[in-house]
């Protein structure tokens, strides 16, 4: 997984706004952010760095195959 977990979310929505690729959405009923589109995570960690309570966990593997120009 790329972004893999949001634990201890305080519902500030900063990660939702900060994610460049719109991976994170906000559940207005639960008042918590959730990972909606992990396949589009570019693993840049901006969400984690901006999170005021360090709630976000990220692993370095993409959840979909990576296309490279050579291997």
């Amino acid at each position: 997984m790329p972004i893999s977990e949001i634990a201890g979310c305080i519902g500030c929505q900063t990660c939702v706004q900060t994610c460049p690729t719109d991976v994170i959405q906000f559940d207005f009923d639960k008042k918590k952010a959730y990972i909606a589109y992990p396949e589009d995570c570019q693993i840049c960690h901006l969400c984690r760095l901006y999170c005021p309570v360090d709630a976000i966990s990220i692993t370095p593997e993409k959840s979909i195959p990576v296309v490279v120009s050579w291997r």
Binding site: T18, P20, E39, H45, T59, E61, K62, V68
Partner: protein, 607 residues
Amino acid sequence: MSDQIKSDKTKISRRTFLGIAGATLGASAIAGNMPPMPAGGPPPMGHPPMGHPPQRNETKVDADSFKEEQLEADVLVIGSGIAGLFAAVKAHDAGAKVVMVSKGRLGSSGLTPFGKGVFSYDKKNPKMQVDEYLAKVAESSIGTNNPVFTRQLLEHSADRVAELKEWGFFDSALCFESFSKPMKERKIPIIERIMMTHLHKEQGRVVGASGFSLDHNTIFNFSAKTVVLCTGSGGFKANGFPLCDLTHDGTIMAYNIGAKVTGKEWNDGHPASAKNSGSSYDNWHGQIEEKPSTTSEDIHHDLGVDLNYTAYTKGGPVSMGPPSDRSNSDNNSGADFPSGPYIPESFRHAGGPPPQQEEATGLSALFAKKKRQGPPNMGGESVGGSTAGMAIHKSEGLVPIDETGLSTIPGLWASGDALGSYMSGGIYTQVGSSMAGSAVQGAIAGEAAAKASKTVTAISIPKEKLTQTRDEILAPLKRETGYSPAWVTQTLQSTMIPNFVLYIKKERMMQAALAYIEELKEHHGPMMMASDRHHLRLAHETMHMIITAEMKLKASMMRTESRCSHYRLDYPGIDTENWQAWINIHKDENGEMTLEKQHFDKWPEFA
């Protein structure tokens, strides 16, 4: 760098991975041990993305429920990176009513959040005199730079850096707060998380733009006297480089209303680490968490396609190293290849020990601070294509008709990576100039757009045009059958990203790739469907990537020579007789993509 940050509770299982991989991609370029497929494809027809069975579009949002909001501005700034920041601030200070709109958040979109080096030229105490600097850049770029914009960087970079310092930009690894300071002080409104899809032209000039919200069912229509595109460049959502939100949106919107676009044959040659090649963070080796700093004069010939050439002629594994390490005599393929990309003599590192690589190559060369320890990619195996679809910074985008970044459409400016200014030409010459150049150009474009806005009256966007725009924006939500944007993107990636298509170019292979891309453009692109706003965004982004791919292939076929970051295996030499020219692309009155040469010392006129 540890393999993960904080938690490994949800690591993907092998079974899940195989399910995904088997369903989606067939290119030889897939990282890992996937079976190879024939050159350039074929794409995995008939398989839906993400391992799900084929299904009709189960739309979660009602297209008919979209409201429309109208906003007005003297100057509409599209994009909220460093170019957009300076465009907005300087346009406001020149007396204009400014509105900024962004696909992301201020200071958190595009490549700006990751730019850690900012070039600053000290005019009073320079390490290199202006003329010496300009001559050296021209030598490195083999004449492909536009010295007007190179000089502009020297003239203004220190002033922009001083303002950034005042706002606190260099005091934090994250730039939202420092960018917010001048915007709040001036009360400049920012409309965030809007995917812009259309520019509007009436009576021969730009009059506004439209897009949709990622957060609610709203279409935004902006009426503006002038528009400054600060939308960055883009790529093919390749992996390992944080530009997956950049899909040349501004360039394609402008192309669609007749603007001239340039630079599509150039390539940025960034590789990624072979291990965790999809992780931008790991490729940056912690640099994302560092505060930015300034750089000074130090001209290079970087980020071309040398590594791609080495990989092509020798095969892997490929590691970062000085360009002079490559030679034909030691390729072990047995094939007779022409010499690789030409490197001007004074930029070769032959003979002696490797140069100070912490400043010279790799990811660090793009943005990095000076004297970094442990630069990205050094010493480890690399894979290619992490910036596939992006050209050298400032070498692609709208064609300027003057030094302010005015495009060939009256009232429409571009700056930063959205402007084909050729500040460095077709090769990367100066560490930190990407950020500084965007700041400098944004400021100049913003001020020019503000002044121009005082000389024109607003022209309203006709209702029928807004109705048509709405239909085009929402069409993917209304399709019950069709293709998912993710699948179309993956097919495009499989076609374009292989080394033997995008980087080590040959006429026949590009023709083959073009056949795929034209199929996507004419058939699959128009049939993309979206179940929600996120996928609606992906549908529009994917269409922008398809048009970009077509431009890149056609420009690359037209340029029958090799120079800087454009390398043709069938035309390996520099052709100074025929190619002292850039390639400009526009849509003609029949809607056809048209390419033309523009000599290096000429400026075009309004379209």
